[in-house]
C-alpha cells in the first residue's frame, strides 16, 4: 500500500497533533516539561516490529494497551521499560501525594534497578497514565477526522517479552505503526507510545478519511 504525498502529509499532521495532546496530558500529570520526538509512521512486518520495540524498551517492559474500533481499528499501546516505569510512578507519587493516599500507596524502591516488581497501586497509576495518554492520542485523531472510536478497557501487561507478545501474529502481516519517544529534561522518565493499525479491513476507510481531510482543508 502506498499513500500519495498529500495523504501522507495529512496523516503526519493528524499524528503530530495527537501526539502533542498526549504529551500535554503527561506534562500536566507529572508537572514537568515533556520532550517528544517527531512521530514516525512506518509499515512494518512482525519481526521488524519486535526488533523496534525491543530496541526501545529493552527485553522487558510494562505496557498499557487500549483496543479501539471505528473508522480505524487496532491497538494503541504505551510502553515503558521496567526501570522507567518505576521512575514514573515515583514521580507521580511525589507530585500527587496526599496523607491518606500515601498510606495506601507503597512507593517503589529505586535502589535496586533489577527489582522490577510493581505493587497494585503502581500498576493502577501506570494504567491511568496509559489511559490518559492513549485517549488523548485517539481522541485527537477522532476529533480531527470527525469520526467516533469505541474503546475497550485498558489492559496492563507486565514483563513483556515482545517476541512472545507477537508470537501469534503471522510473520508477513503488515501493520501501520506510529511511534514516538518522550522524556522529561532529566531523562529519568521516558516512554514509548505506539499505535498499531490493523489495515487489512480498514484500508478503504482509512484512505477515504485522509482524502476527506485533505479536501476539507484544501
Amino acid at each position: 500500500m502506498k499513500l500519495t504525498d498529500q495523504q501522507y502529509d495529512a496523516f503526519k499532521e493528524i499524528v503530530n497533533i495527537a501526539v502533542g495532546q498526549a504529551a500535554d496530558v503527561l506534562s500536566m500529570m507529572i508537572e514537568k516539561k515533556i520532550n517528544i520526538t517527531v512521530p514516525t509512521i512506518n509499515l512494518l512486518v512482525r519481526d521488524d516490529l519486535i526488533a523496534l520495540l525491543s530496541d526501545n524498551c529493552g527485553s522487558q517492559a510494562i505496557g498499557v494497551s487500549i483496543a479501539y474500533d471505528g473508522v480505524l481499528a487496532g491497538k494503541a499501546t504505551l510502553f515503558f521499560s521496567n526501570k522507567e516505569g518505576k521512575s514514573l510512578v515515583a514521580r507521580l507519587l511525589s507530585v500527587h501525594q496526599e496523607e491518606d493516599w500515601s498510606q495506601e500507596w507503597v512507593a517503589p524502591s529505586l535502589e535496586n534497578e533489577n527489582s522490577y516488581s510493581f505493587s497494585d497501586s503502581d500498576k493502577e497509576a501506570i494504567s491511568e497514565i496509559g489511559n490518559m495518554l492513549i485517549n488523548a492520542l485517539l481522541g485527537s485523531v477522532s476529533n480531527m477526522v470527525d469520526s467516533n472510536f469505541t474503546y475497550q478497557i485498558p489492559e496492563l501487561s507486565e514483563n513483556i517479552d515482545f517476541s512472545q507478545e507477537f508470537a501469534k501474529v503471522p510473520p508477513n502481516k503488515v501493520a501501520f505503526v506510529i511511534e514516538t519517544n518522550f522524556s522529561d529534561d532529566t531523562g529519568d522518565i521516558k516512554g514509548y507510545l505506539f499505535m498499531l493499525f490493523d489495515i487489512d479491513n480498514h484500508l478503504t476507510n482509512f484512505i477515504t478519511m485522509l482524502d476527506k481531510l485533505c479536501a476539507d482543508n484544501s
Partner: protein, 130 residues
C-alpha cells in the same frame, strides 16, 4: 458538602479528591470504583434522605460505564448535578454525555483551573434554580 467520586483508578480518585479539597477543604467524599458501585452508593445515600451535592463520574469503567451510571442516578433524582471527568476527549463523547443529562465535562487530568470552571458553572446552575 457531600461528593460522590466514581472512577476505576485509585490514582485518578485521589488526584480529584486532593484538587476538590483546595476549594472545599471540609468536604466529605464517598468513592466507587465502577458505575454499578456508584449507583449503589447513590441509592443508599438517597435512601437515608441525603443528597450528594456533586457527583463526578469517569466514563470508561468496568461493570458499568459512566453514561449508564448517570442514567440510573438521574432516573432516581433528575436534579442531580453530574460532572464527567474522563480521558475520552472525543467531541461525540461530550455530546452523548450532554444528551444524557450530564451538566459539565472535564478532560483528565482534573486540574485546579478546570475544577474552578466546573464549580463556577455549578454555582450558576444553583443560582438559576433558586
Amino acid at each position: 458538602m457531600d461528593f460522590l467520586l466514581v472512577d476505576d483508578s485509585g490514582l485518578a480518585l485521589n488526584m480529584l479528591r486532593s484538587k476538590i479539597k483546595i476549594f472545599y477543604p471540609d468536604a466529605s467524599f464517598q468513592f466507587a470504583k465502577n458505575g454499578r458501585e456508584g449507583v449503589d452508593l447513590f441509592s443508599n445515600f438517597h435512601g437515608l434522605g441525603k443528597k450528594f451535592d456533586l457527583i463526578f463520574l469517569d466514563q470508561l469503567m468496568p461493570k458499568m460505564d459512566g453514561i449508564d451510571c448517570a442514567k440510573e442516578i438521574l432516573s432516581q433524582d433528575p436534579s442531580s448535578y453530574i460532572i464527567m471527568v474522563t480521558s475520552n476527549i472525543q467531541v461525540s463523547m461530550q455530546e452523548e454525555a450532554k444528551d444524557t443529562g450530564i451538566l459539565h465535562f472535564i478532560n483528565k487530568p482534573a486540574t485546579e483551573e478546570k475544577l474552578k470552571v466546573a464549580f463556577g458553572a455549578w454555582k450558576s446552575f444553583l443560582n438559576e434554580q433558586a
